[in-house]
Symmetry: none
Subunit: 156 residues, 4 copies
């Protein structure tokens, strides 16, 4: 039986465009870097900015939506589960990382599908930067196998 609640609730902005990959079975896995900034007073009473960068992963249908609609700078509400994981790096050393596995996502007003740093955002056709973001069921062939996670031993 379930025994516990493990819930993260985040509202933040993407630091980069999402990255979407597909499993061999065709399931989308989209990862984003999400900044949440808060302010507290330090010991001297001065406001101190504090930014946390969350690695958020979206699977399946949510992964397709996130990959298609989110962009660098987008503001988004994410709800998910905190998961602590590890992998062995190329140097043979175990590395630990934490990710939020999203189960709910909501785009928020504003920057929406716009883009980030450059001025090219409005002119950049969606397909240009997102060939790997197409829904796999729309392709007759599965995505290349090297789009998987094994390519560089680093899961994020």
């Amino acid at each position: 039986m379930a025994r516990g609640i493990n819930k993260a609730i985040l509202v933040g902005n993407l630091g980069n465009d999402p990255e979407t990959k597909y499993t061999q079975g065709g399931m989308a896995i989209t990862k984003i870097s999400l900044a949440t900034t808060s302010v507290r007073k330090d010991r001297d009473g001065n406001p101190q900015e504090n930014t946390q960068w969350h690695r958020v992963t979206f699977f399946g249908k949510l992964g397709e939506i996130a990959g298609e609609y989110l962009r660098k700078g987008s503001q988004v509400y994410v709800e998910g589960e905190i998961r602590y994981d590890k992998y062995t790096g190329q140097d043979g050393v175990e590395k630990f990382f934490t990710e939020i596995v999203a189960n709910e996502m909501q785009m928020l007003g504003g920057r929406g599908e716009g883009g980030g740093g450059g001025g090219e955002r409005m002119s950049r056709p969606r397909q240009e930067s997102a060939p790997q973001r197409q829904a796999p069921q729309r392709q007759s062939a599965p995505p290349p196998a090297d789009d998987g996670f094994s390519d560089d031993d680093i899961p994020f």
Copy 2:
């Protein structure tokens, strides 16, 4: 300005007794290991248990309360902020870790102030704190019992 929401909501059980330290200024810092277990179906439809161990830190007054009342096995509700941090180990290598900095805590029924590791736990009588565990009708009057389902004009 604050820009974002970073909130963790956890209900779980302590894997060990809390560990409390004090800063030179006398502020309590209590750390616990909190297990949240959930169940999902794997690809074969079989229920699969999944336990995440959260490092939760309580500062100040909350740290004193957590250190005093929580014990190995205690069930607790925790709300806090997810914080990603790092330190340099004795081997000179940077290590990353994630912690939940609690800003709200609530002991849940059951194991309560009982405890774990030591034998001293039973010496603190359960009844001391038990009155608060009585049925909530002592907190205030419950809603009238007659607004039940049998009166079909009333939906609650």
Copy 3:
């Protein structure tokens, strides 16, 4: 498109046994009265108890589980949606009410599966339902105990 988040997170105790009905299609609808008590200081700095009674509704499978396992006094975690509704009473007057439509429920330690309509609940020994309350190390291995505070190079 979805436009918004409407989420209630409650931890409280039942004021009465649940009431379960079934639709003609056989779907369970269980309703409970849930007390959440908090304390704040009044203007004079004295702690003031404040209890809110929530009407919580569970549909379908969740309704069956809630009806079967919850009892007067049970402590429970509920997550759901806040819904404002109205009905016309027998006196022809529109009545407004608010309910929480649950989409997640988690029984909490303590009164747990005990319960039942009558006064026999206390006669059912605590241990009967206690196995699930055992220390979580049976769910999986707890983190190593030696990463305590005494090793000052390690912050957790």
Copy 4:
């Protein structure tokens, strides 16, 4: 002792400009109407929009900020406590209502400080529509007593 969690988490849009009043002691009380819209499939599988209108109340400093920065159409994150209350109407009948007493607020991207029905929003000086929104401490005299809640017997 606190005994329970009573938390609402909302992301929605204001249906109207906020309304701010001041207590005789000079504390701001701001009320908004917040729409949260979600979609579910009805029994026929067709998406069905569902909008809930929340009455949200902000006290004190938060009330001043909400009154000053929120506008009709603004998207906002609100966290607060669900409170069930009643008042006796002019017809002598008890009326029940539910409100969310906010303890955290976060403006979200987009409509921001804009507002208003027409296109004049960017040209509309703040003071024009918000004389009663000025922070009370900036006035030497307290706000008129009839700005209180007794004026029309209706608390929202």
